[in-house]
Each structure stands twice: as C-alpha cells, then as structure tokens.
Symmetry: C2
C-alpha cells in the first residue's frame, strides 16, 4: 500500500487516482489550480484532501504524481514544495524524465498507455504501464505501484516512450477521428432517407481491429486504394463533393492522401508520387 | 435451401460461397477467368463445378452472384448466358443496381459490409447484409438467402449503399493503414533499442473502438490535437522527420492534416484553416 498525492485533477489524474485508491493505495492530497476540481476528485476517495497551493511540506505522501498538461510540467515541478527525497513522477508520453530538474526528489515517469474520457471507466488490468526512473530503488517502488493496477508493466526509455506515444496518436486519436468522419457521412442521409446508424459499422471495425492483430495490418489491408480500383475512388470523390459542407471539405484531402499512400505502399513501382 | 452459382472466385466470392454452402445452400457452378481459381474454390464444397466460360444455359442455379471487381461487372453481366428469369445479384458497395442492364433476369444487390482477407475466417452472424431488388418477390428470396448467414439483413437504396461503403472506407481501410503506420514507427526502434511490439497498442485500440460506440466518436476524441497541445505536436513532427524514410515522408502530411482537422472540428473559431 502506497501513500500518493496527485498534482492535477483532470482526466488522467481522475482515472489514476480512483483506480489506485480502489486498489488499496492511500491518496493523501489532490492539487488543482481550481479548488473545486480538487474537491470533486478528493470527495470520491476516503481521506483525500483537496489543495490549491503547491506547498506539500507537511504531506505524508511518498509518491507525487504530476498529471497535468505537458506545457505546465516544468513550471509546476519547480514550484512544488515537497518533503525530502520523495518520488516525483510525471505521466506524459512525450516529456523526458529530465524535465524533472530537481536534486531533492527521485524523478520518475508513470505512463499508462490509454485514452481517458470523463464518464468512461477504464479496465486498468488491460492497460500497459511504461515506467522510467533514475535508480533501481525508485523503479522498484513505481513498478510495485503499477502492479497494483495492471500486470502489464514495462520499463522503457524516454525516447522509446515518445515513439510509443507517437504511434498511439496515429492508432487511437486519428482512427477515432476517422470514425467521426464516417459517422458524419452516414448521418448526412438521415434527413432525406432511412437513417444509417453508425452502429452498422461496428462489426466491420471490430473485424478490422481483430484482423490487424491476428495477421498484421500490412497483410489485412483491403479496399479500393489497395486494389487500385480507380472507378470506385472516382465515385467516392464525387460523393464527397456532393456530401461535405464547406467546413468539412478537407476530409476529401484525407481520402485522397490515404488512397495515394495506400497505393504507393502496396504498389511502389507503379506510382509517381504526387506530393 | 437455395441453388446458387458464383461468377468470380476471389476473396468475396470465396468467403460467401463457403459460408452459403456451410449454411445448407447448394453451390452449382463457380466461374473464374482462371479455371485453377474456380477449381480451388469448387473443391471446397460438395458438387460445385468449376467453369471458365460464361455459358450457364444448362445451370440448375436460381441465383447467380457476381462477385468480381467493379470495373468488370458491366461487361461480364452483358456476356453471361443464363437460364430465363434467374436472379442476378452483384456484391459491390459502389455500383448501382442499374449496372445490371438485362431484361431477362431479376437484378439484385447482395452486399455484405465486411473486410475479406484470404486465410481469415469471418463471423457472418455478425456481418450485416444490405440488399436491393426491383421486385418484392426477388427481395424476399435474397432476404431469405442472406438470413441463412446472418440475422442482420437490411434493404437500402443504391445511393445509401454508396454512402455506407464510403463511410466504411474511412472507418476500416484508412484506420487499418493508420495501424500499419503505427506498427512501422514502433519497429523502427527494433535495431537500436528494446523492440516495441505492435501488440502493445492492442488494449488502447480496443478501448478506442469500444468508447466510440459507447459514447460516440465525437465525444471520445482525445490527444494533442484535440487539446491543442502545440509542444507535443511539434515534438511529434520532429520525431517523424528523424524516423521516416524518403518513401514514408508523406506520413508526416497525414499527421499534419489530422492535427489540423481535429483542431478545427473541436475549436472552429480559434483556427484559420490553412488548406
């Protein structure tokens, strides 16, 4: 059982603090610039104290988890008043461990590879944690902490974590935006015709994901761009012209860029690259 | 139990013919320009006869399913020699029913919304079928046929089917290519550092998909572009410059286009569109 304080009360802090408390750890303080946010999160767990000041000199916590936006980490870390020699870990996918520039703490990184939204519970047992520390002792403590949430605990370097986060942005954030585009395209018909609900795509997307991990995404690729089916691509570009609003017209660029890149990936000798 | 012949022996034809045979239907002939392809597929089911000629005047089949590339449908349909008044259905997401320009057949569309790859079994019970026909009688027969494979059977117009297929290209084909990009980015480290296997992204992608259907993709969006976290985006663009080969450098355009489009979608008033 670890004694932990959170700097931050946003999405990542909320999901982590709740899960760590539920796993038997003791959450001591929760800091937010906005005391109401700190209050709201602290109220969800026994004995946690909300704070809007960065003075933790009297804290009993042994681990401080900084879960705030990347831009704010350096400044908040330098302004924190902490008990001596505590572990100070950030949760960023992109910031190196060296952003924690203090000699009076044990720097660490505690990065869960997951997408966190309000009101959507996470299965932490399935979430991999990527850790980094400067000493074996600190690493062992945060490994121990991560293992209270998930069996999938890995040590990787700051550079590897940046690459992992970049790959995750393509796989998760950009895929999700493709789903948003699909849903919007389907809903355009709702006024004039039988509505086509987004749920119709669920089995197709589930199979796409399953196949990518079963036979690899390179081998799983299908569709008009892979087949170089120009009549379908031309038809789709015409449809996009007729369906998209002025604000959405760049989605046609997304269609064209993917079609070009998929064709080039699978048929590199047949293509003259246009960009 | 229906008597069916297939025109085509590729991915779609193979998956459909095998599943329809397994569901108790009788596959009579399988045509391919390449008789070896017809042979290979016909050998997987009882009593099916391979063919490389378009003369089916002696066939016992009542339903002919044309599962070939979009570009070839019109010509093959006009060259087919068929028994009188059979159902002639194509499986294309994009071609209208009117591409079947014959007065001596019952035109139909039999479109499974799915991604088909060799050596990857499909759960047809989860696959939605989208049907179209010109008479109630023909529709009833192909509904009956589709119901031997799946309970998810819908009647939609040619225009709706085109929109559905377009949405599927964004959700399935383009997402899968994002997975390929992610996997390639992770593998770039394998030479110099501990390998980062693509499987690490599986829980994140599973959560992304689950969340999109549980709370909608618009509400589920996360990531640096949504948060307008410019320091992360700048770092990612630098990483892409250092990681991508000459052939892959347009993947940076994909990163930039998505980041711009996500930012514009969620913060339309703060952005000047650049393309």
């Amino acid at each position: 059982m670890h004694k932990i304080s959170f700097i931050g009360a946003g999405n990542v802090a909320s999901h982590l603090a709740e899960a760590l408390a539920k796993a038997g750890n003791s959450i001591k303080e929760i800091y937010s610039r906005n005391i109401l946010h700190a209050h709201r999160l602290a109220s969800l767990m026994p004995a946690a104290v909300p704070a809007d000041q960065l003075d933790f000199s009297e804290s009993e916590a042994e681990i401080f988890i900084v879960a705030i936006s990347d831009d704010a980490i350096a400044e908040v870390v330098s302004n924190l008043i902490l008990p001596p020699n505590v572990i100070l870990a950030h949760t960023s996918g992109t910031q190196p461990i060296s952003i924690i520039q203090r000699n009076d703490v044990q720097p660490a990184v505690f990065y869960p590879l997951q997408t966190f939204s309000p009101n959507k519970k996470i299965n932490f047992q399935e979430t991999p944690f990527f850790l980094e520390a400067k000493t074996r002792e600190t690493l062992a403590i945060i490994q121990n902490l991560a293992l209270t949430l998930s069996p999938k605990v890995y040590e990787i370097s700051s550079h590897q974590r940046q690459i992992l986060h970049l790959a995750a942005v393509f796989s998760c954030n950009f895929s999700n935006f493709l789903f948003t585009i699909s849903k919007n395209i389907l809903e355009k018909q709702a006024q004039v015709d039988t509505p086509l609900p987004f749920d119709l795509l669920q089995p197709l997307i589930a199979e796409t994901v399953q196949k990518a991990f079963e036979i690899s995404p390179e081998k799983a690729q299908t569709g008009p761009a892979k087949r170089r089916d120009k009549s379908v691509i031309t038809k789709h570009l015409q449809l996009l012209d007729s369906l998209l609003t002025e604000d959405e017209k760049d989605w046609k660029n997304i269609y064209e860029l993917f079609s070009e890149q998929i064709a080039f990936f699978y048929h590199p000798r047949d293509q003259t690259k246009t960009s």
